[in-house]
């Protein structure tokens, strides 16, 4: 299958759908069936993505290496430096294309039902199309500039879609926050790009004069520099993939319509950060890798703990997403490209499913909600004490949570919404990592194995710590995900009115759920994934000096070199990870595997068991535990005070600073004549007292004032009598002549 035309179609189809909307709306009209246009465009893109995938299947040896096929054009020729734009096609791209088009198509279909009746219905689909275009563009770009362009475009689509219901304050705030927070990360990424560009004079990734080829020739003297560049590029991923410390926007982004959360904030855009980090894999150094791994692990753990105490069903899923993204980062930081991308793929499907499922629940509740009058809503907000048994957050009242998303109002929905229940249960089992049957197990298992393998083979304390954090996060994940299922679908209905109004969603919404549920089984399995995706070399990652790993590994390489031509080819790159990905012939790897698989059973049993004790059998009262652990609970409830830190300190300081600066400009710069002297003499301490004296503009005013006063004096000369003037003129001439005569 020809690559360029197909990719072009993939890009053009959704863009055309958006352009159709955009041009039409300039005339003040909308096409009512924009949904069909956008969905059709997405399905076309999906078909093309499948066709492209057949290339990979046909020739795995070629496409399994990153940067396999590149078609690039000069985009911005400056003379000696040129920026190019182009398509990159390899197995990773292909997988990403499939993931994006599948999830996007399904979300489009789901939205036809979910968004039905919204006053801005056509606009929603147009934005979805624009987003799909941007995301696909990001994925197929062969250079950092292209990725950055797609990167910012998905950001702005996310902004538009989070703020879709902008009449309410919460989405309006959330969309701004999302854009700003990711932008902070993007600036880091941009600085990283500037560093790379200044060094290599290009932003292309592949090819003989691409960044990777040039970076592989760097010596140890440049390692610190390269580490910093890598970390800065990773900053972009931190913002976009909501890693700590830039994670706070993602939970707020749940103010957007739920299909948007499923598409953008679970499956695709947030995964773009992981994709970027994976793409930059070859330039990561040991230091930057470790940094990434730590950020990932901390994020996984912190987000998981916060998720335990959330009541908003979408917020739980949001923190779960952050946590899972942390896993992917951890995998890549630990040197396993394959495991990271594998987890990305599986996660995209089951997390999209979870979000769409929650959307289905919310839709049902909203429908129920609309059936009631306004007073009822009021009742729910205040009357939860007696209405719910599960009320261990009584002191943290439900203010701020949409009643239709509040799990304390749910319960017993499994009979009302069987399809939603079953599909969501599958996804939950998958994310919890129930062994063998579900895709989530395989990918999470792969991550844990890789980290542990690194710990064992390098004898690295860091990786042991990372591994324990990841394992702990896995337990918590199983716990809070089942808490969600139990609170929503089992037990007795806690809000009878809403419960009565709820019903199973229409088929348009159910079908995507079913398809995604199928995809949550190991359709995408480890073996096929590892067949198609091969880990690129990391020339700058070496085993730590203290490790006993090097010598034995060299021997191993040598032995394998005789038997396995492919391994020999990679042997010179000193890259042990390749074998790790291939996996099966490495004793350390086997060892790790043998530890992780039983551990997974333990994790799942402990996590689900605890959850069931609390929320299914209700043997332990969550309220009591919360009361016992009050400080910890408060900390978690307040999300480790990240928001307070940012809003109260950073944002407030910036705004206050800008106000001061604005006043400064108005008063001070505008009047420094006296100010400068004072500043110089008395120093900045007394500046505030002298704000009224202005500086630069004051200089201008001073000129004006001097002119004014001179004019006031000189004006008396103007007697209004012509002859006086004439006398002055003639006298002046005479005087001049006299002077002239005297001089010459």
């Amino acid at each position: 299958m020809p690559v360029v035309p197909l990719i072009s179609i993939i890009l053009v189809a959704p863009l055309a759908a958006f352009a159709f909307f955009g041009l039409l709306s300039l005339t003040g009209r909308n096409y009512a069936r924009q949904d069909l246009v956008s969905t059709a465009a997405m399905l076309v893109a999906f078909v093309c993505a499948v066709l492209l995938f057949t290339n990979v299947v046909a020739d795995p040896d070629k496409y399994s290496h990153d940067g396999a096929e590149i078609h690039s054009l000069t985009w911005l020729p400056l003379g000696s430096v040129n920026f190019s734009m182009g398509f990159l096609f390899d197995s990773v791209t292909s997988v990403m294309l499939l993931v994006v088009t599948i999830v996007s198509s399904l979300v489009h279909i789901f939205s036809i039902g979910y968004m039905h009746g919204d006053p801005r219905y056509p606009r929603f689909f147009a934005f979805l199309s624009l987003f799909s275009f941007s995301m696909l563009f990001l994925v197929v770009s062969d250079n950092l500039l292209g990725i950055y362009i797609g990167w910012e475009l998905v950001g702005v689509c996310s902004y538009l879609l989070i703020g879709f219901w902008f009449e309410q304050d919460a989405p309006a705030n959330a969309c701004k926050k999302a854009f700003m927070t990711t932008r902070v990360g993007d600036v880091g990424m941009f600085i990283g790009m500037m560093m790379l560009f200044t060094k290599f004079r290009t932003l292309s990734l592949y090819g003989t004069d691409g960044i990777f080829a040039l970076a592989s020739n760097l010596t140890t003297a440049d390692m610190t520099w390269l580490s910093i560049a890598g970390v800065l590029i990773f900053c972009g991923a931190v913002g976009k993939s909501a890693q700590i410390p830039l994670h706070t926007w993602l939970p707020d982004a749940m103010e957007g319509p739920t299909p948007v959360s499923a598409l953008i904030h679970a499956a695709t855009m947030v995964a773009a950060g992981v994709y970027l980090t994976a793409r930059m894999f070859p330039i990561l150094t040991a230091d930057s890798s470790l940094f990434i791994a730590y950020v990932g692990a901390i994020t996984a753990l912190v987000a998981a703990t916060i998720a335990i105490v959330r009541f908003d069903i979408k917020r739980v899923l949001a923190y779960s997403t952050i946590s899972q993204l942390g896993y992917m980062m951890l995998a890549i930081g630990a040197g396993s490209y394959v495991a990271g991308l594998f987890h990305l793929t599986t996660h995209a499907f089951f997390k999209a499913l979870l979000f769409l499922g929650s959307g289905s629940v919310i839709h049902a509740f909203h429908a129920a909600h609309h059936a009631h009058d306004h007073d009822h809503e009021h009742d729910h907000a205040h009357g939860d004490d007696h209405a719910h048994g599960d009320n261990h957050a009584a002191s943290f009242d439900s203010f701020g949570i949409d009643p239709a998303q509040d799990m304390r109002h749910m319960g017993g929905l499994r009979h009302k919404m069987p399809i939603t229940f079953v599909t969501m249960l599958i996804a939950t089992l998958s994310i919890a990592g129930v062994p063998y049957i579900f895709s989530g197990f395989w990918s999470k298992d792969a991550v844990l194995v890789e980290v542990l393998y690194r710990a064992i083979s390098w004898n690295s304390v860091h990786h042991y710590i990372l591994f324990s954090m990841a394992a702990l996060a896995a337990v918590i994940t199983a716990f809070y995900m089942f808490r969600l299922i139990f609170m929503t679908f089992t037990g007795e209905p806690r809000n009878q009115e809403m419960h009565d109004g709820a019903h199973e969603s229409p088929w348009k919404m159910a079908i995507p759920l079913i398809i995604l549920a199928v995809l949550s089984f190991p359709i995408v399995n480890k073996w096929s994934f590892e067949k198609y995706v091969k880990q690129p070399a990391q020339p700058h990652v070496h085993a730590p000096k203290h490790a006993t790993y090097d010598a034995s590994q060299d021997v191993l390489h040598a032995q394998l070199g005789l038997s396995d031509a492919h391994a020999a080819e990679d042997a010179h790159s000193e890259d042990a990870h390749h074998d790790a990905a291939a996996g099966h012939h490495n004793p350390d790897h086997d060892k790790a595997h043998n530890i992780v698989v039983p551990l997974s059973f333990v994790i799942v049993i402990v996590g689900i068991g605890l959850s069931a004790l609390f929320y299914y059998w209700r043997k332990i009262s969550a309220d009591a535990v919360a009361a016992r652990l009050r400080p910890i609970y408060t900390l978690l409830w307040n999300k480790y005070y990240f928001d307070e830190l940012y809003d109260g300190v950073l944002v407030a300081l910036t705004v206050a600073g800008s106000k001061v600066l604005g006043l400064f400009d108005l008063r001070f710069i505008d009047g420094i004549v006296n100010g400068v002297g004072v500043v110089v003499q008395a120093g900045c301490a007394r500046v505030s007292g002298w704000f009224d004296n202005t500086f630069v503009d004051g200089l201008v005013n001073l000129v004006a004032r001097i002119t004014w006063s001179i004019g006031g004096r000189v004006r008396r000369v103007q007697t209004g009598m012509i002859q006086n003037y004439l006398l002055a003129v003639v006298g002046g001439v005479v005087l001049l002549i006299l002077i002239f005569r005297a001089l010459f």
Partner: protein, 172 residues
Amino acid sequence: MELNPQELVFYLFALLTIASAVVVVTIKNIVYAAFSLMVTLFSVAGLYVFLQADFLAATQVIVYVGGILVLILFGVMMTSGSLDLKLKLERGQLFWGGVVSLTIFGLLLSVITNTPQWENVDIGASQEPTTRKIGEMIMKEEYLLPFEIASILLLVALIGAALISRKEVRDE
């Protein structure tokens, strides 16, 4: 020093010019001043004759005496409320005016006396009447354009003067 009649007449005219000009400047009655100015103009015309500028002399008499002076007298009469106006002179203005005029006089005089090439220069002049030559130069040669411009200037002055001096007609 011997004076031939011609020179005698010349000095007479010169004296007349200066004396009458002094009267113009100093006398308080404006009508007398105007008549005194007429004497000045006449004697300047006489001086032109001595300079072999016969046409110029004639023009001087016709335009100045016949035109401008009459105009001035009309002006004096039309603003007749101040016919016998006692001109008051401000002391400072008078003083400084005198200083400036005298300085100018001194300056110009020194220029004349300090310019040796003007001493006794007399390149001679043709004795034939100048009217024909002036006519040719104005109508045929290089002064055609200035002449036309002068005529337009006069026209403009005519219209302008008429426009300014007529009673203002207010727009309704």
